[in-house]
Symmetry: C2
């Protein structure tokens, strides 16, 4: 491989990394810690505009991560920014809830067929945790069916990393294999009469693994299993929500969850999560106590209202489907031309690319680093995200650079 060395990192980036190392353990933590995936990606970003982000050394990248999902309309979308500024003029964290909470709840209920009500929080894990708390309150039962390897947040009850987590935190998880209905049925049998909820993502998007679309029969089977056992069907739509189908990511299949967890794209980057659910669970919601200091802060809710209003115009999602398809076709042609066998998995709006036989991710990492060095920000083993700000011309500009990246790793 002949890609440029990681010494291409700029001086501001290097200086910030050194400062960060002093005051933030490891220089950064969590999913944004670039040490976990790259020696070429900048750790720091100075600004964003539409489908472009600019690092602290002034280098601009075509953005295929979109803030790792939240930015669905593009960075600094004018309509969302106007809503933020307007609400800031009035207030944010007030003593009572802002009317915008009601307006946004009404719009969610109007948009999502399985939603008879909504409530708000800050993180995706707030939303998933609230869902399982409601499910347990509603059923009086404890067991949660969760797919092997599925990410539902980085909090003790669902963390995929053991450090600092006790066995008791996850004592009531029963694991099944995604898209394997028999395994879910077996897990439900193991839970017996103590089954509270079946928790599932709209597709399999586990880290460091090709994505896998849901088998419609599996989705329908889980719905039937929940109905048969009295379990609550919880759809974790945190990552996919508001990008694939505004009514919920399983709406095209006709499979409706009892509870849905939302976050990421819900407010185009402002900190917000939501739980929506069916009428029958309203009393259970009233019985639980979940809250947070900023859960009904007005500015993120105003951003959410503006984001969903824009998405409902019906342009953004078809646009992402079209540009996503264009990107996928272009990458496929490039890989073939360069003699690589690649896999592109998941929905086109949430692309993921892997190389055949690249079990240790060395090739895809080198390719991703080559792409970022050429001005396309993407990830080697986490899915990417498109936004409505990506035009066909942007996709073509991305493809011009990825073509060079394929050439660079051809060796």
């Amino acid at each position: 491989m002949t890609i440029a060395p990681a010494s291409v990192l700029g001086e501001h980036e290097l200086a910030l990394r050194e400062r960060a190392r002093q005051v933030i353990p490891g220089g950064m933590y969590g999913h944004m810690s670039v040490q976990a995936f790259s020696s070429a990606h900048p750790q720091f970003m100075a600004s964003g505009d539409g489908c472009r982000v600019t690092d602290t050394d002034g280098r601009t990248y075509l953005d295929l991560m979109c803030g790792w999902g939240p930015v669905v309309l593009g960075h600094r979308h004018p309509g969302v920014t106007a809503a933020i500024l307007d609400q800031l003029e009035r207030g944010d964290c007030l003593d009572g809830t802002s009317p915008v909470a009601v307006e946004f709840a009404e719009l969610l209920v109007d948009t999502i067929p399985s939603a008879d009500w909504a409530m708000f929080c800050k993180n995706g894990s707030d939303a998933t945790t609230t869902c399982v708390t409601i499910a347990r309150a509603a059923t009086g039962k404890r067991k949660l069916l969760v797919a092997h390897g599925a990410y539902h947040g980085a909090v003790p009850w669902c963390s995929l990393r053991g450090s600092g987590v006790t066995a008791e935190d996850q004592a009531h998880l029963v694991r099944y294999e995604y898209n394997d209905l028999a395994s879910a049925e077996a897990a439900a049998a193991e839970a017996g009469d103590d089954l509270a909820a079946i928790v599932v993502c709209p597709m399999r998007h586990d880290i460091k693994r090709d994505q896998e679309l849901v088998d419609p029969a599996f989705a329908r089977g889980l719905r039937a299993l929940a109905d048969r056992t009295g379990a609550v069907l919880v759809l974790d739509d945190v990552r996919c929500g508001f990008r694939l189908d505004l009514g919920g990511s399983w709406e095209p299949l006709g499979v409706r969850p009892d509870l849905s967890a939302w976050s990421k794209a819900i407010a185009n980057g402002q900190a917000l999560g939501a739980v929506t659910g069916i009428e029958a669970l309203r009393d259970a919601v009233r019985s639980v106590y979940v809250t947070g200091s900023f859960w009904t802060a007005a500015v993120p809710l105003a951003a959410g209202l503006a984001t969903l209003t824009e998405l409902r115009k019906g342009v953004a999602l078809p646009d992402m489907a079209r540009t996503g398809a264009r990107l996928r076709e272009g990458l496929a042609a490039q890989a073939a031309a360069h003699g690589f066998e690649i896999r592109q998995t998941g929905p086109v709006q949430m692309p993921m690319l892997s190389f055949a036989g690249d079990e240790d991710f060395r090739l895809v990492t080198a390719w991703a680093e080559a792409a970022v060095e050429r001005g396309v920000y993407l990830h080697p083993w986490h899915n990417w995200f498109l936004s409505a700000a990506h035009t066909d011309a942007d996709i073509d500009a991305i493809l011009a650079r990825t073509d060079e990246a394929f050439a660079a790793v051809q060796g």
Copy 2:
């Protein structure tokens, strides 16, 4: 009692309540659900400015809740707003961390003597949960000493409400009595060689209970107990932080925690939390996986940087101590003049008032409702918060109204 009936709620408020009931279970949830504490407080707030909030019917209140804590400099503080607008011009939720994360971490480390590093999150419960995860990772042990009745968040491991929470979620909590060192020693003995952390608030601020300042000997005793057992001392400074002492709420006692959880006032109302800790725990932080989609979003960090920069000028905290004392003295004189025996507890910057013998909170609720009907927003059985926006004149305006409230409930 002769206070005005709750029918004083305005038409916009009543209409919003009806709409909310349709789309939000119970009309609202969590600490902001006014049904839990009042028939006179508005559920909805339209705007805030300095130490005033205005409801949806245009009624303005002198604000003694400050967004339930976050608003330490006053609503829409010009310096914080300028920082928000400046960062919004560049970007918020980017693919990498903004440099402002490093700047703010540096300022926290410079401000807080027990902080050798910092990391950021969104909720207070993110911060407390991260602290216990780090403590368990560092020690390889599981038990957490937690005070009876102490609030550390509304997530399963520390929730004070049973609905939807399993016994296993709290299997490793060992309870002690606040300010009773012998009970903490006994709890540590019960935890034996499995003790990971001692979790404690800077003062006792349990709901529906007079506040109780920490006994300095208790604080020093917990520090010694942690040192003796190898447990991590976690100070939950979420509610008190940045209002009593910028170095941490136990800094005046000379008792330094190993880990501190921060949120609420850290960014004057923007959604942000933080964990700070000592050098010895840096490796443990690196071993855990905690993250969230918006944890390093730039706008709340810019607000935090501006807030702490303002607080470090040395004016805001002394101001709150002075206005808090003025309020306490005024309320004491009024109560005596009206023949009431009241208790005022906790630090003056975080006032709480109760009436002697008012076990069912009927009298304090009537008084609080009379106050809100007269234009002072305060809570019957949760502590209040002062901000730096409160002037002596504002306190006097508050006192003019609370005097009427005392008269109203004298009846």
